[in-house]
């Protein structure tokens, strides 16, 4: 099974600033996913991060706002840039364990509040 360490667990940031969230996995994984969960809503996929290539963004999310790095098979970062209060959310990273495992692996989440 994969263990994911995500940090920070929470932060309060000023509008206009940027925050980088880190996700470290204890084993090599092909794909990592970044999600956003806003209050009262379901998870929304932001992007898929593959090692050695640019992240693939879902509709409504752009690289300038959410730049992602994936320097190796165990690590990824998501940056929330030029933050506004609308960016206040929980951000989650997840790894693709299919087809070897049946579990879905998530980081602990980063709760971001923008003031």
């Amino acid at each position: 099974s994969a263990v994911i360490s995500q940090k920070p667990s929470r932060d309060i940031c000023q509008r206009g600033t940027s925050l980088t969230i880190q996700c470290q996995v204890d084993s090599q994984v092909t794909m990592m996913f970044w999600y956003r969960q806003q209050p009262g809503q379901s998870l929304t996929l932001i992007a898929t991060a593959n090692q050695g290539s640019e992240a693939t963004y879902e509709s409504g999310f752009v690289i300038d706002k959410f730049p992602i790095s994936r320097p190796n098979l165990t690590f990824s970062t998501l940056t929330v840039s030029n933050m506004s209060p609308e960016d206040s959310s929980i951000y989650l990273c997840s790894v693709d364990s299919w087809p070897e495992n049946t579990e879905a692996f998530f980081g602990q989440g980063t709760r971001l509040t923008v003031v």
Binding site: Y35, G40, S42, L43, S94, W98, A104, G109
Partner: protein, 114 residues
């Protein structure tokens, strides 16, 4: 112990057969979400349930939340190979305001044999 128990862990069914996946908690579920994930793809949102006894259907997939709001089931009728994937339940178990982070089950890997 896992706060949200999902069963079975894996399931192999013949095409055309019905199947049920369960998600159980000892705590009240204030929101229950079902997702599906295929290899190489992110989670796909299927349905959300909030009220005790609520039932929702989309195509051949039906999800229910029991009256006590502690168990949900996902039922697939006449399964097809396209239904194969990992099914994941996620729950809002936070009764207070200001906390809405979801707790996830471990997932159920469904294989459908043609």
């Amino acid at each position: 112990s896992q706060e949200l128990e999902q069963s079975p862990q894996s399931l192999i069914v013949q095409e055309g057969k019905n199947l049920t996946i369960n998600c159980t908690s000892s705590k009240t579920l204030y929101g229950l979400y079902w997702y599906k994930q295929k290899y190489g793809e992110g989670l796909i949102f299927l349905m959300m349930l909030q009220k005790g006894g609520e039932e929702k259907s989309h195509e051949k997939i039906t999800a229910k939340l029991d009256e006590k709001k502690q168990q949900s089931s996902l039922h697939i009728t006449a399964s097809q190979p396209s239904h194969a994937g990992i099914y994941l339940c996620g729950a809002d178990m936070n009764s207070g305001a200001g906390s809405y982070q979801l707790t996830f089950g471990k997932g159920t890997k469904l294989s459908v044999i043609p």
